[in-house]
Amino acid sequence: MTTLDLSTATRRDLNGALHALPKDAPTADWTVLHPEGQHALAAGVNAPVTVTIKGHAGYYCAGMNQQATIIIEGNAGVGVAENMMSGTVHVKGDASQAAGATAHGGLLVIDGNASARCGISMKGVDIVVKGSIGPMSAFMAQSGRLVVLGDAGDALGDSIYETHIYVRGSVKSLGADCVAKEMRAEHLAELAELLAAAGVDARPEEFSRYGSGRTLYNFHVDNAGAY
């Protein structure tokens, strides 16, 4: 195991070393001490390695992650795992705004709550939030799945495309063109898989599904109020 202490080493030391890891062979685990909320920690990693950050991380932690498993033993700032392509990011505390923004793949698990715009513009990532999420989450969400065990704030899924949203608690309001949808067998199965992947013990039947009404996909004068 490699340990890097950010009270003596710099962020550049950390990211430079992580970027130098082999892309196609597993590496022994990394532990990062004293992160003290620094930004862009473990950003741009592309290697099958597990990195545990012992404390709080600032903005864009694990940004654009590929392959790596990144565990944050604390809270994460804005844009955790933004544009992730693959791998797993696990926030043990709460996450700030825009968690998993624009991410194309991989799994983001947040044990606590996520703030506004969770999963904004998501493009294929799976996000599981054990707590609640803030307003404008899954705004313009294109693809992937968002699972919330707690409640969702205002304007959930505004202008959503093809992302599947599952919420166990209440939804304060739905955004433009986001509608409640029927839970069919394939959705229960997909949700069960996601819950298992995130290590959550919950029954898929307790969730409601939301997705696109697909009424704004093409311009129509009668929808002018929604644009």
């Binding site: 962020r11 550049r12 990211n15 430079g16 970027h19 930004h39 862009a40 950003a43 741009g44 592309n46 600032g58 903005y59 864009y60 940004g63 654009m64 590929q66 804005v78 844009g79 933004e82 544009n83 392509m85 705004q97 825009a98 923004a101 624009t102 194309h104 715009r117 904004i120 513009s121 493009k123 294929g124 705004f139 313009m140 294109q142 693809s143 495309y161 093809e162 996909y217 093409n218 311009f219 004068v221 002018a224 644009y227």
Partner: protein, 444 residues
């Protein structure tokens, strides 16, 4: 009075309700939706044509054409990037998306730019292998939509351009209508095929200059501080926008005036939001000078650059380089009079065709229709673009030599005068034949 012989008044069109305005009212009434088109503003604006170079005479010595050297190269990204870019000419190719343009057109832009020794730029929708393959120096745009945004492509790029805005639509997001969302475009953007795509106007994970500073740090960390990072803004409040971009850590600022082209935007946006290129340059340069950053953070100006005189004037006003969009497309073959019969069928005429969003471009440039796109030969079109870029560079050099400058970057506002009071005020150079710069104290 002979009542059979009263002189008749002529039918008279209103200047306010002119035929184009009337046609738009009828179109709006029939459809209920705003007009969308491509290209830049079509109205007449104070522009580079309103400036003249003084040239050398008794008090300034010219350089010999062909014999005495006049440098044209430019370095971009010298502030923080480990690998700044070095171009042979200060004329770069602006960001235009695959999706808006055909794969062949993107390839042709890469080929032309590479022959000329300059850079080309991706656009909304990501990087295609054709374009990366054919472009020696490729700038990768980082846009609010993040369509196709991929760290592998980020690492393959030679520079990264964070797009905050565009001159044609400052404050607006992208548009690509269903006709152009082909299978390939849909897949690259992770969108359903055939939808009318309206992309975001704000970045999803940062707001404001303080966040942008952290975002730029992240992009630098991911790419190991190698790549120059540009920030592109539409011209609105250039003094403040440039100052904030510098504060946020940009290596290069791209400033796009309202003449700048677009692939598809509401007509009302194109014509009524933003300020002319001419009006934007001096405040931008002033911001750099006030921060002690002129020439340290490079300024690229775009929006209505057509010839070497425009290039020289932009540089004389303080830009380090320029970018071209519309002119590059024309060099490839856009709006060619040889295709007049086909433009007529589309209800337009060569030179005025701007329904690029419909994807029916007979020149094969602004389309995703495979049959139309196949009409453009990327090798021949790339050659035409390279020729055109060479002419722009030679013309700018001709002017610089006439002004006694051994490098295009030695051109300065002092070499210029203005033909109109408006241009004098905007460019902050004297009205020709006077020492008067409107709004400035002094004069002679």
């Amino acid at each position: 009075m002979d009542i059979n012989n009263i002189p008749q008044t002529l039918p008279r069109f209103s200047a306010t309700f002119d035929p184009a305005t009337l046609a738009e009212i009828r179109r709006a009434a029939a459809t209920g939706i705003y007009d969308i088109r491509g290209g830049g503003t079509k109205r007449k604006l104070p522009h580079f044509d309103d400036l003249l170079f003084l040239g050398a005479s008794m008090s300034r010595y010219p350089l010999e054409g062909y014999r005495e050297k006049c440098g044209t190269d430019v370095w971009l990204g010298t502030r923080f990037a480990k690998k700044p870019i070095h171009l042979k000419t200060p004329v770069t190719i602006a960001g235009m998306s695959f999706g808006a343009l055909s794969g062949q057109a993107k390839e042709a832009l890469g080929r032309g730019a590479t022959i000329a020794g300059t850079s080309t730029t991706t656009g909304d929708g990501g990087m295609t292998p054709e374009e990366r393959g054919q472009s020696q120096t490729l700038v990768y745009q980082y846009l609010p939509s993040r369509y196709g945004m991929n760290p592998d492509d980020l690492r393959k790029a030679d520079a990264i351009e964070v797009v905050v805005g565009q001159g044609a639509k400052p404050g607006g997001g992208g548009m690509l209508l269903g006709q152009k969302i082909s299978d390939r475009v849909a897949e690259m953007r992770t969108l359903p095929k055939g939808i009318d795509q309206r992309s975001a106007c704000r970045h999803p994970d940062w707001t404001g200059p303080d966040d942008l500073e952290i975002k730029i740090e992240e992009l630098r960390e991911i790419t190991d501080w190698e790549k120059p990072i540009y920030v592109k803004v539409g011209a609105t409040r250039p003094y403040y926008d440039v100052a904030l971009a510098v504060k946020a850590g940009a290596d290069v600022v791209v400033l796009d005036g309202m003449q700048g082209g677009t692939a598809a935007t509401q007509e009302v946006f194109i014509e009524h939001v933003g300020i002319p290129t001419l009006a934007a340059i001096r405040p931008a340069v002033q911001a750099l000078q006030d921060l002690g950053m002129h020439r340290k953070v490079q300024l690229i100006v775009s929006g209505g650059i057509r010839n070497g005189a425009d290039v020289a004037k932009a540089l004389a006003l303080g830009a380090d380089a320029v970018a071209i969009g519309t002119a590059a497309l024309v060099a490839l073959g856009d709006n060619d009079p040889a295709l007049e019969a086909e433009y007529r069928k589309l209800g337009s005429t060569a030179g005025a065709y701007d329904d690029w969003h419909e994807g029916k471009d007979p020149a094969g440039i602004t389309t995703q229709d495979p049959l139309l796109a196949a009409r453009l030969d990327p090798v021949a079109a790339g050659r035409r673009l390279a020729n055109y870029l060479a002419v722009l560079t030679l013309e700018a050099q001709t002017i610089a030599r006439a002004c006694g400058k051994s490098h295009l970057h030695n051109l300065e506002p002092e070499d210029l005068v203005a033909l109109t009071i408006e241009a004098a005020a905007m460019a902050r150079v004297p009205l020709a034949g006077t020492g008067w710069i409107p709004g400035m104290a002094g004069g002679m």
